[in-house]
Amino acid sequence: MDITLLQGPVLVAVSGLILLLVSLTHVAYLTYAERKIIARMQQRLGPNRVGPRGILQPIADVLKLIQKEDIFPATVDRPIFAIAPLISLVCAASGLALIPLWERFVLSNLNVGLLFILALSSLSAYGVILSGWASNSRYAFLGALRASAQVISYEVAMSLALLSVVLMAGSFNLQDIVKAQMESPFKVFLIPQIVAFFVFMVSALAETNRVPFDLPEAETELVAGYFVEYSGIRFALFYLAEYFGMVVMSALAVTCFLGGYAGPFEVPGLPFFWFLIKLYLLLFFYIWVRATLPRYRYDQLMSLGWKVLIPVALLNLFVTAFLKLMF
């Protein structure tokens, strides 16, 4: 199955569908994994009733949310209220199409793939703002303001970190970046770009509104912030968008810093093996951080982004450029 650029729209459609289904399952079971892992860290069991060891829990959640009443509070702006979760989900999930899962499987091999993913993550702020605005409620309004400011600030740091990788690989194309890593003496860009990796991971936590940067949706303060007025399947869409964002950011980190799908030895029959292993490692890191750390206050969050991460990323960029020039 050799799928490159535009050969056979049917093949593209079929592979897109397969990718969508696989990623949806991954995201759904990511919620299950998160609940189980956090529970074990907190010395309790986590979901274990639905199906053996609670395996069917995500399916039960989805079924429950689907059959709930679709509530439109009286004072909301109906069309925008309906569209906002869709925008969030589409922007979060579309990035998955560009990630090279395997040497010969990338759904859309854009020449400016990295730039496209960054643009999509900027667009996701749009979904947040629209939902906060349309909800016509004070809590949602405050949450949307905070979330959009946070997303925009940490995008700068993330882009600067990724630029260092682009400098080393010489291209925005994600396939080329992975190939450059395989050819480089270090095999992964993690080792020379450890600082950029750190900045990227922290910014990714902030982009996806995860602890310790989850103030916009902090339960104990703003009662779920910008999606407080949503219920039923729309709430599920926002939730999915957040986890999709986690998966896409982790996949991006795997591609740019950890060597993508390359591994020390070939596993027969499972070409995605190494990619999935690295992806799961990074997702575990996300979940681990959620169980451990408290939450940043909003102004501390912003000062961390602007005063710490961006200067560090800039410095890294200059050092990388200098070294690249010298050698």
Binding site: R290, R295, Y298
Partner: protein
């Protein structure tokens, strides 16, 4: 309902501009305000310009009810005030009544009361730490603290049959003695507890996010704190070593050795350190009391002249006149079942200084029972503490004041 709407009054800035403040209602149902507390916040962006706490959502009329109940029956009401550390509420009621009746509590009962009070203090501080950390975002501390609290609640069930609302401390002493099992499990708990406190501290004590969220927030100077009426760990965090257990000792606190931790700056972090050290000191007190218990083996656990559960409405003094045939006849004059007068007692509850002022008119029901609760005073201090802070800090402030609405609204 007309009474619950907030009136928004626009201010005139100049001839053609009005300024309207932005009100946010941190309503009675909220995952983080501990109970049904309603805060009307006046915001300027994210900064709090004014704050108006509205309470009364949990008002059950305990003071009015107590005027219609027997003295011993009010102990059951007192459980439900600060329902997290109900032993403390029972103790303060009993101290006031014992002052009124002129009873002397036997030594074993005093030791048992001290043990139960300190267990309640540890249990309340564990709950405080769990909810405070959860509000600031560290979810795991919540579950670790509740693990220990479950052990304590099981020991409570062993002692008096109830996990939360004990009614264990009675007028004149305690309800029943500790069983040997309870003493054993308590001994094991006191041995393991200091290690477990270290477990909670490693998660948050030097975590820079925690330090940034709690250092420098809601700083109160010592004079300001006394003027605002703050007591308990909140006052001690500001440097004033006022602890009712040391200043006006009651029960067995003059027999045991313990220190009173005091903070320096009076911010949220100092109060957190004060409460963590208080937990260690409570553990120490329980250990010492358990060592002293075998000395009082066999002593009564309730005073001999303690009143019955239902004090009769009229009582005659037994003035025995031996009758040749019928034996003693009670032809005494009518006396008051309860000595008239008034009494004031206060204790160091885990939240602050809990005080009771009771006025008796001689009948078997109190004439006036006034309960001064620390949460009432602490919630009244929220506007002064929260001015100029952000909303996220407000949650930390409510957590550090350790308010329980059952205590506040009575």
């Amino acid at each position: 309902m007309s009474s619950s709407l907030i009136e928004v009054r626009p201010k005139r800035v100049n001839s053609d501009q009005y300024e309207e403040p932005f009100y946010l209602n941190l309503g009675p149902q909220h995952p983080s305000t501990h109970g049904v507390l309603r805060l009307v916040l006046e915001l300027d962006g994210e900064t709090i310009v004014g704050c108006d706490p509205r309470i009364g959502y949990l008002h059950r009329g305990v003071e009015k009810l107590a005027e219609n109940l027997n003295y011993n029956q009010t102990i059951v009401l007192s459980d439900r005030l600060d329902y997290i550390a109900s032993a403390a509420n029972n103790t303060v009621f009993c101290l006031a009544f014992e002052k009124l009746f002129g009873l002397k509590v036997p030594r074993r009962a005093r030791l048992l009361r001290t043990i139960v009070n300190e267990m309640a203090r540890i249990s309340s501080h564990l709950l405080w730490l769990a909810t405070h950390a959860l509000d600031i975002g560290a979810m795991t501390v919540f579950l670790y603290c509740f693990r220990e609290r479950e052990r304590l609640l099981n020991i409570f069930e062993e002692i008096c049959g109830a996990r939360l609302t004990h009614s264990y401390v009675r007028v004149g002493g305690v309800r029943q003695d500790f069983t040997q099992e309870a003493i054993e499990s308590l001994k094991k708990f006191t041995e393991e507890f200091p290690q477990l406190i270290l477990e909670y501290e490693t998660l948050i004590d030097v975590n820079r996010i925690w330090l940034e969220r709690t250092k420098g927030i809601a700083v109160v100077s010592a004079e300001e704190a006394i003027n605002l009426g703050l007591t308990g760990p909140v006052l001690r965090g500001s440097g004033v070593p006022y602890d009712v257990r040391k200043f006006r000792p009651y029960d067995a606190y003059d027999e045991v050795e313990f220190e009173v931790p005091v903070g320096e700056r009076g911010d949220v972090y100092d109060r957190y350190r004060v409460r963590m050290m208080e937990m260690r000191q409570s553990n120490r007190i329980i250990k010492q009391c358990l060592e002293k218990l075998p000395e009082t083996e066999g002593e009564p656990i309730i005073a001999e002249d303690a009143p019955d559960l239902l004090i009769p409405e009229r009582m005659r003094e037994p003035e025995p006149k031996p009758h040749p045939k019928k034996g003693f006849i009670f032809t005494g004059r009518e006396v008051f079942p309860v000595p008239p007068g008034e009494a004031f007692a206060s204790i160091e509850s885990p939240k602050g200084e809990l005080a009771v002022y009771v006025v008796s008119d001689g009948t078997n029901k109190p004439w006036r029972l006034r309960i001064r609760t620390p949460s009432f005073v602490h919630i009244s201090a929220i506007p002064s503490l929260a001015k100029g802070h952000l909303i996220a800090d407000l949650i930390a402030i409510i957590g550090t004041l350790d308010v329980v609405l059952g205590d506040c609204d009575r």
